[in-house]
């Protein structure tokens, strides 16, 4: 029996994450789910949010965009348009991107443009959300 899962997170720009982990928590279209090794084969849509991977008892957090998830007993493959590790999120930059996107949305845009701006807005929002959640939990642990 496999005790680890191979988690692969791939975006069009890079292979963001590829490692053996013990458990993966992600947000599917029907809600949050935790995946352990020997999970039954599953294919679902990924909703923008946070992915938690547990490796050697340590939690690794990532912010991801929309995408697809494919689970087999020993592997979790995630295809998404954006993925950033929580510790790599630049809060100031994300906030700036968010405000820029909000400002752009106020203008008159073609359908294509607005889809692009919506996407970048969603990315920035998710990054901020994950970052702030992490900070909050970190400070709770320290107290």
């Amino acid at each position: 029996m496999a005790v680890t899962l191979k988690l692969e997170i791939i975006t069009p720009a890079a292979k963001v994450f590829s490692d053996d982990v013990e458990m993966v928590t992600l947000t599917g279209i029907d809600g949050e789910m935790g995946i352990y090794p020997t999970h039954m084969p599953l294919m679902t849509q990924l909703v923008a949010g946070e992915i938690t991977a547990r490796k050697d008892g340590q939690n690794i957090f990532l912010a991801v965009g929309d995408g697809f998830v494919q689970v087999t007993g020993e592997r979790v493959a995630i295809l998404t348009d954006m993925a950033v590790r929580a510790e790599n999120i630049d809060e100031a930059k994300a906030e700036e991107a968010r405000q820029h996107a909000v400002a752009r949305l106020a203008e008159k845009l073609s359908e294509e443009e607005s889809a692009t701006v919506q996407a970048s807005l969603a990315h920035a929002t998710v990054q901020l959300k994950v970052k702030r959640l992490r900070q909050k939990q970190d400070s709770l642990v320290k107290m």
Partner: protein, 292 residues
């Protein structure tokens, strides 16, 4: 017999041409590196996407998506992807030579890139839409093209959609290639090339039955269009990589040729100059002898 002044003038003009081609070569090689990089980073993503699609397709039990419906092909659409600018060697002409072979009456063209639309207009073929894309193709530009193609297919205006583009093989070689785009049923065959080593893996996993959440229809309904968009984006990126490589090579050849011409002309110029001096000296000595 040209005079020394004529030759000097020609040398000057060839020299300034070579300066321009040299500059273009530099620009193209810088852009080429970036374009090649962009075309290559998408590979793992597309590989995994293909894998997921293949497995999903293998798991489908009596379910078919409208984008996968294979119909007898009476009318087909071809997406012709070319460059915006010329001066890139035989890249576009090779591409258009393939396009000429297609049946004029049953094919409608969708073009991406300015050279393609000019070509279609010049040869009076059916043009149904033209798109443009920037030096670094954006995903949204690819999405627009792919969405249009899907609409053509779904409304029955075309029974099959193919893409004709310059495939990037390496810096020296680019090849015009026709790949089927829609219906998706053919997809497994086309991706076999890229996906060859993964093929076994797919076969092994096909025995596993995948659960779909919420259901097959929703997941595939999202997955199929997305994969088409992505495929289109990849094609645009490859076209750009081909364009910059072809331009760099063409400009390098042009620069080399200019240098050769300059060399030849300089030799000719010096010979002529020497001949003139000798002639003058001869005249002076003859005159002196006549006087003395």
């Amino acid at each position: 017999m040209p005079s020394t002044r004529d030759i000097r003038r020609r040398i000057k003009s060839v020299k300034s041409t070579s300066q321009i081609t040299k500059a273009m070569q530099m620009v193209a090689s810088a852009k080429m590196r970036r374009a090649q990089q962009a075309a290559l980073v998408g590979r793992p993503y597309s590989q995994l996407l293909n894998e997921i699609m293949a497995e999903a397709a293998a798991n489908m039990s009596g379910f078919s998506h409208p984008l996968m419906e294979a119909r007898p092909v009476a009318k087909r659409a071809v997406i012709l992807v070319s460059t915006d600018r010329g001066l890139c060697g035989g890249l576009n002409s090779n591409l258009f030579r393939e396009a000429v072979k297609l049946d004029k009456d049953t094919t409608v063209f969708v073009t991406a890139g300015r050279k393609a639309s000019q070509f279609i207009a010049r040869t009076r073929r059916n043009l149904s839409a033209e798109f443009s894309f920037k030096d670094t193709p954006l995903f949204s530009e690819a999405r627009a093209i792919s969405k249009f193609a899907q609409e053509l297919f779904l409304t029955g205006e075309a029974d099959a959609v193919d893409v004709l583009y310059s495939r990037f093989i390496n810096t020296l070689t680019q090849q015009p290639q026709m790949v089927p785009f829609l219906p998706i049923g053919k997809l497994t065959a086309t991706t076999a090339g890229i996906n060859a080593p993964k093929e076994e893996l797919t076969g092994g996993n096909a025995s596993e039955v995948f659960e779909f959440e919420p259901d097959e229809e929703t997941v595939l309904g999202e997955l199929l269009p997305h994969s088409l968009n992505f495929q289109m984006h990849q094609i645009l990126l490859e076209t750009k990589a081909s364009e910059q490589s072809a331009r760099m090579v063409a400009m390098k050849n042009a620069t080399d040729n200019a240098m050769q011409i300059i060399k030849d002309l300089t030799l000719e110029y010096n010979k002529l100059r020497q001949a003139n001096i000798t002639k003058e000296l001869l005249e002076i000595t003859t005159a002196q002898m006549a006087v003395g």
